[in-house]
């Protein structure tokens, strides 16, 4: 019964995003870095590979660096959007006055948000892989025909996804609590920058929630890579997400719907 009700909530939640910015954002944002890498490798692939390492190793480095920096912003924007769509349309009271439990409405939105992050990361992985093969078609000598384990890349994306849920839950809750767009964005930028500073030498930087996704990511495409080898930040992230999402769910039961 509860599952059926949740299915209704999720179905309505997905439907409302048609023809919206977030729909295209979830689809196209993961293409941003692969598109730049495609141009870079088509134009200067030889020079890049000549600096050392295999073609796939270079592509993975070119992908993970910018992605680690940009992905938190993506998470913050998606969290803002899935909640401000209700604030801007004045529809919180509409959805909470429907014959579904408050927990159901909350879980529907939370699960769709989590699914958006998951889909984007998987798309990012697949598009990065596609870049290698597209470059191979244009320049077969570059080395993209060498063996490469796609499942390692997708597995790494999945690990990053799990490691993102920690700070992702914070931004989901923040965006539910406030209509203010600047506050969650400011907290996000503060979190990202403070992690980048602290990770330079502070021994407890590994507990910083805005760094879990960076610390869980491994050198895909190299011999040293081993899937599930950096699990501490993933566990920390999942624990944080469980706590924050639970607090948000309890808060939803009590709060006044304006």
């Amino acid at each position: 019964m509860a599952i059926l009700a949740l299915k209704k909530g999720i179905s309505a939640e997905i439907y409302k995003y048609r023809s919206t910015f977030v729909f295209w954002f979830v689809l196209l944002a993961p293409a941003f870095i692969p598109a730049i890498n495609l141009i870079a490798f088509l134009r200067r692939g030889d020079a890049i590979v000549a600096r050392g390492g295999t073609a796939w190793e270079n592509l993975m480095q070119f992908s993970s660096g910018p992605a680690n920096f940009l992905f938190p912003f993506f998470v913050i924007i998606v969290a803002l959007f899935v909640n401000t769509i209700e604030s801007n349309s004045n529809t919180w009271k509409l959805i909470y006055a429907q014959p579904l439990s408050r927990l159901n409405v909350f879980c529907s939105k939370m699960l769709v948000y989590i699914a958006m992050l998951f889909c984007s990361l998987m798309l990012f992985g697949l598009m990065t892989y596609a870049v290698g093969w597209l470059v191979h078609l244009a320049n077969p000598d570059l080395g993209f025909a060498d063996p490469f384990n796609l499942w390692h890349l997708l597995g790494n994306c999945f690990t990053i996804f799990l490691a993102t849920l920690g700070f992702g839950s914070i931004h989901f809750y923040l965006s539910q609590r406030t209509k203010n767009l600047i506050l969650p964005l400011g907290i996000g930028v503060g979190g990202i920058v403070s992690f980048m500073i602290l990770v330079q030498g502070w021994e407890y930087a590994r507990y910083h929630p805005y760094g879990y996704h960076v610390l869980s990511s491994g050198p895909v495409g190299t011999e040293n890579f081993s899937l599930w080898s950096h699990m501490e930040p993933v566990y920390l992230s999942l624990a944080l997400a469980a706590v924050v999402f639970s607090i948000a769910a309890i808060d939803t039961q009590r709060k006044r719907i304006i």
Binding site: K8, Y15, K16, K93, L94, L100
Partner: protein
């Protein structure tokens, strides 16, 4: 015995230290158009939000169809359609798509969307984006969403707010039709007395969080033995001051005269004496039966504040 779609007992509600509702007890008869009347800020929307379980009242009880939200939230809300203040509409979607979002939540057949669009006369504009809708169309779309589950009870918060005269007439006709032809019980809030007068069979008047009257609309007229006294005189502004000092409530004034509600014939003489003693020249005194507006004003004392 009369059955009630809504029964509240002694609802109290606070916004921090401000008491927004004080012992609000309502009984909305099944099949009625129940007018919930009060000035802006009287507590109408707060009451409605409690009726829809959007706010939780710390004191008192709410029962819809004899059930309480603690035990039967989904079952209650299945039988309730609501339109609360400004329309809740996803502007990037068409009217039909807006209804589809709600339809997916409430699980009714797709054909129901066309039915409710026909009821609110929005079929021709159903596939237009809601951002191109007029306010009247938005209100009708909101009403269509409220009707999707074919609820027994409609709770409408100021449904004519911001509408032009033709929009108001259209909405009024729609509400009457929903009550008479579709058998819906309608709980309708408004701060416009004439609106309630034209629609409601039963009424409750709320001011400063307290219910001042509840019952049949006719009962409000009959219950009031008051008449109005029109006084023509030379200095209206001075007269207003004098009469306020004498504990009278002024319901209307202009350059030449003023109107005040009175309880007895003796008060006519008392008013005259007060004015003459204050050195004012009284040119005429005439009485008329008090209209509903004066009764409302007298109850809420708004003009005096």
């Amino acid at each position: 015995m009369e059955s009630y779609s809504i029964e509240t007992r002694e609802l109290n509600f606070y916004f921090k230290d401000f008491k927004a509702l004080s012992n609000v007890s309502l009984q909305v008869p099944t099949g009625s158009i129940f007018g919930f009347l009060g000035p802006n800020g009287a507590g109408k929307t707060t009451t409605i939000r409690i009726l829809l379980d959007l706010f939780h009242a710390p004191g008192g009880s709410v029962k819809l169809f004899g059930k309480s939200y603690e035990t039967a939230r989904s079952a209650i809300l299945k039988q309730v359609g609501a339109l609360i203040e400004n329309p809740s509409i996803y502007k990037h979607l068409t009217g039909r798509q807006n209804l589809e979002v709600i339809r997916r939540m409430v699980n009714v057949p797709v054909s129901r969307i066309d039915e409710v669009l026909r009821i609110v006369r929005l079929v021709d504009n159903a596939d237009k984006k809601a951002k191109h809708y007029s306010l009247g169309m938005c209100q009708r779309l909101g009403l269509a969403a409220a009707l999707l589950t074919d609820p027994e009870l409609l709770i409408l918060d100021e449904p004519t707010n911001g509408l032009d005269p033709s929009g108001i007439i259209e909405m009024r006709e729609l509400i009457i039709r929903l009550n008479r032809e579709h058998g819906k019980t309608i709980f309708l809030s408004s701060h416009i007395l004439s609106e309630i007068e034209k629609l409601a069979t039963d009424v409750a008047i709320i001011d400063q969080g307290e219910v001042l009257y509840q019952g049949k609309l006719d009962g409000l007229r009959q219950g009031s033995q008051l008449t109005e006294l029109r006084v023509e005189l030379n200095h209206v502004a001075t007269a207003v001051q004098v009469l306020k000092t004498g504990n009278f409530t002024i319901s209307e004034q202009n350059g030449q005269s003023l109107i005040l509600p009175i309880q007895s014939r003796q008060e006519i003489a008392h008013v005259n004496k007060l004015l003459v003693d204050a050195g004012l020249e009284v040119y005429g005194l005439s009485t008329t039966a008090q209209n509903l507006e004066s009764i409302f004003l007298n109850l809420t004392k708004k003009l005096d504040q």
